[in-house]
Amino acid sequence: MSDTRLIHGQSLGAVRGERVLFRDVSVEAKAGDLVLLRGANGTGITTLLRQLAGLSPPQAGEIERSASHHWIGHTNGLKAHETPRTHLQHWAKVWGSEADIDDILKRTSLRRPADVPSRMLSAGQKRRTALGRLKLVSRKLWLLDEPFNALDTDGQAYLAEMIEAHRADGGAVIAALHGAAPVKASSEVAL
């Protein structure tokens, strides 16, 4: 069992300003898992996810990582001058990916705006571009912060499918999510 554990955060804690956001929170993801992080606005879900991604050091507890991960945050990571195509091409090069960019653009329904700079894209198109990164290289762990936001009905269904396929493939997903989940979680962590 423990050989398929991809990430394990133990007794994590975070302080912001003079406030303890959360403490003694543990998160674990094994191959095939979908862990949903749940909590009211401002309880520190984003903070926890950033700790798991290694973006900010946990103020208490420890994190063990045994797999590489993909990150999609509240912001999409697109530069204003980048188009969906150049964004994906750029990260494909960085990651040494051989993926077919045109195919990814087609699957994420970005063929039409493929060459429009991101500052003119709609909210959903920006999010779709970021989701395209997940297809560039295969990484076991996906860390997603409210990934369904801004997506239309089709987009949400497509992302749910992607997540299921990734789990079936031996991957794991840790996602922050409010409201009804369009996917079935294997476990939830409440903050």
């Binding site: 973006l55 991960h69 912001t75 990571g77 697109l78 204003a80 001058h81 090069k93 960085v94 040494g96």
Partner: protein, 220 residues
């Protein structure tokens, strides 16, 4: 660094970013026109004074270009989330930052140096004096961009800290400015050009690590 692909990509991305933001074409034109128009007005009309300040004005333009460009680069990276992505790369964020700095120097700094002879002509500096000076502007300008990058990275997390950046960077600019100015009179014969190169090498050794650490902090 076994794999140079991330660095090449970072370089390409930074180049096109700088170009798209108009820094490539407009920065030299802007400074060119700004200097050519404003400096003579404010500084009096004597040819002698102008010739004396001409080379100095270019140093200031380079220093300013480094601050203006890099501040925006790192702040934008933070706001649009691209910094998050870079920080999570295996490739060291220090090298990425160095690569981006180089790209922005190429787009915003190098054209200024190429225009130096023309600007010098405008301000009455003899052409012959300007051409050898370009080497000094090149080395000195890159040094500015390195320190400017450190200051910009430090201030990236702070809301709109343009002047904080200037405050941090200017002290680091001083050695390059001193040796640079001296080397203009000395030419390639003097020791100043060596000291200038040493200042640049020192910056090259220290600045990337500092930028990396500062960017990591900003991403937190």
């Amino acid at each position: 660094m076994s794999n140079p692909a991330p660095l090449f990509s970072a370089f390409r991305q930074a180049l096109s970013e700088a170009w798209a933001s108009g820094a490539g074409l407009l920065l030299p034109i802007g400074f060119f026109s700004g200097t050519a128009m404003l400096v003579p007005f404010t500084l009096g009309d004597e040819a002698e004074t102008l010739a004396k300040i001409g080379p100095g004005v270019l140093w200031l333009a380079l220093a300013l270009a480094s601050l203006v460009t890099l501040e925006r680069v790192f702040q934008a990276d933070l706001q649009d989330g691209a910094l998050d992505l870079w920080v999570q790369e295996e490739a060291s964020i220090s090298l990425i930052a160095l690569t981006k700095t180089l790209a922005h120097w190429l787009i915003s700094g190098a054209p200024l140096i190429l225009m130096a002879p023309i600007l010098g002509r405008l301000l009455g500096v003899p052409f012959e004096d300007m051409v050898p000076a370009m080497a000094a502007y090149g080395i000195g300008g890159f040094t500015f961009f390195l320190w400017g990058g450190v200051a910009a990275a430090l201030a990236a997390g702070v809301a709109r800290a343009g002047l904080l950046i200037a405050l941090i960077a200017i002290p680091f600019f001083v050695p390059a400015i001193i040796f640079g100015t001296l080397s203009l009179t000395e030419g390639f014969d003097g020791a100043s050009i060596l000291f200038l190169s040493a200042a640049c090498l020192f910056a090259l050794g220290v600045a990337p690590a500092a930028m990396g650490a500062a960017l990591r902090l900003a991403a937190e």
